[in-house]
Symmetry: C2
Subunit: 333 residues, 2 copies
């Protein structure tokens, strides 16, 4: 039982956490009254609108990425549940400016269903809408184990790159092409050192012993595919880095952007030590690290664990798009 959130169900938790964030960043973001839709205080009028969202419980995602050069709108669901199609449709309607709308969807079955149905409703009503689906999780070892490659922390890079590209004037179809190219170059692996406590209406889905770690866990408390004895930062960095490198054509992997992402209750002390180990390994592998993010970007409530993301910088413009400033509060660079 979670004493701090005592007696609070999903509805109350989500309602209050949105109010808390909007209060804290009232100089940047607003909530559309009575909804779970958050948008920029001063919406742009002359660019494609970028919308993302998904379940709550991933804070600072997705509210924290609403800002200049990033998301125009975030639409939130219950804990670990995506918004409904009607909510996605409402988000499209409320923010429409005539230049088209792009949805950035994480590749979970329920998320894809909700967002595509919301898109369909909007298109039928006459709006111009398209989407990209992020599937950066490459933890699945066997095709038979689980078919779907999930969308996890790498989604943050897609938010930034497409958000900045839209501010620079790219059209909807250009953004879809750039998005799909970037998604293909983005790979993530995650590992948990603890289970997740129950929250709101969600039970805990697995637990671990103190000396165990779990590879391939999801960001909604989903079990992974392999439990092993807990290893040191250096050993985990070695395993994740090597496995991520094998996801690419080795000759094409010359420079990368990386995210060392905490899943909820890992400390910055641990994450920075882990990043240092990853940097040493990439240096040995002669892969240049041109851009780094360190911190909690896409969490799984209070899971103790981390994920490592690589984005192959296949084109110099990708790095430029990452480096542009944003006032989205969760982007720390």
């Amino acid at each position: 039982m979670n004493y701090f959130l005592k007696d609070m169900g999903d509805n109350q938790i989500v309602d209050q956490l949105i109010d808390g964030f909007v209060a804290a960043y009232s100089h940047r973001i607003i909530r559309i009254p009575g909804s779970r839709i958050i948008q920029k205080l001063k919406p742009d009028k002359d660019k494609v609108v970028i919308i993302s969202g998904g379940g709550s419980g991933h804070e600072p995602a997705h509210i924290g990425y609403v800002g200049d050069n990033m998301l125009d709108v975030a639409v939130m669901g219950n804990i670990f549940e995506p918004p409904t199609a009607a909510e996605v449709f409402q988000a499209i309607q409320a923010s429409y400016n005539g230049h088209g709308t792009l949805l950035i969807i994480k590749n979970f079955e329920k998320d894809v269903a909700s967002f595509l149905e919301g898109e369909r409703m909007a298109i039928e009503t006459g709006y111009v809408v398209d989407h990209v689906i992020v599937n950066d999780d490459c933890s699945i070892e066997s095709a038979t184990f689980e078919k779907r490659k999930k969308g996890v922390a790498g989604t943050i890079f897609i938010h930034k790159i497409l958000g900045t590209a839209s501010a620079q004037g790219l059209s909807l179809s250009e953004l879809v092409a750039l998005g799909n190219q970037t998604i293909q170059a983005t790979k993530t692996l995650g590992v948990a050192f603890s289970g997740t406590k129950p929250i709101g209406d969600k039970p805990s889905q697995y637990s671990l012993k103190p000396n165990e770690m779990y590879f391939g866990i999801g960001i909604h408390g989903e079990p992974g595919y392999r439990i092993e004895e807990m290893k040191s930062s250096e050993r985990i960095a070695l395993e994740l880095t090597n496995k991520l490198i094998t996801q690419y054509e080795r000759a094409e992997l010359k420079s990368v952007a990386i995210i060392v992402n905490g899943l909820g209750s890992a400390t910055l002390l641990e994450l920075s030590i882990f990043l240092n180990h990853v940097m040493q390994l990439l240096d040995i592998a002669d892969i240049a690290v041109e851009f780094k993010l360190l911190g909690n970007f896409m969490t799984s409530y209070n899971t103790n664990g981390l994920s490592l993301t690589f984005l192959n910088l296949f084109d110099a413009k990708i790095l430029d798009l990452l480096q542009e400033d944003t006032n989205a509060f969760a982007w720390k660079h």
Copy 2:
């Protein structure tokens, strides 16, 4: 036993975490080789130098506050131990630019001793140095329980206000006066929902049952003064807010800046819900909240808990100083 940091003592942990942060923010900060001193990549030449620091284990403090309009230099010690006087002296020497140096010290016995001895060594060598001592923790209920009022999360406000004021050209003596005035207006209360795990050479100093909370804990794992049954966010917000209000002359408390600070493993979801409760209580009390920080600013390794800081905005210039931009990566506003 902490498997992730297996076999790592204090020296190795601190060394690697500094390297990790400096790697992640290599476009902003550098480490003076062979030292635990971090400074801005491009030091200012025409202003008073602002130095702070203290033990490691408080990440993102203090490295995360090195940046324009904030700290010029951070000097780090072992886990929960301040740097030595010699290290403080070295930090003063390495960054001296002829306009004087201000030390921002947290009011812990060892911190004060190290920093004042480093200051004395520098003054004897001919440098112009002064200091302020932050003592925002007001959790001590009885003078007999513990004499010293500690310096905790409110220190972040002092970093920002004095850092920005120094960039605006205030002299060393003006900064000391402004600092002391601001420190008097800054009050913090903290509560832990868990003990801290051992790390490096530091054992855990207390433990809590799952349904217990501990008032008045320190940020170095120090025990607090009262264990109670765990309460809900709303009840804790009520208790901390009311107690903080009583620290001020009620008629003078019209508008405040606040920090809702996580102590390590509290989630942003929980912190934002707590902030929302505090906002509601201050609204009822007719106290305007002009500035808010929400997140992990001054942690106690992986303690699950939070602190609440009030700064009475006694002068409009204080709010202006808080609102100026900074690129220090841990300041998120």
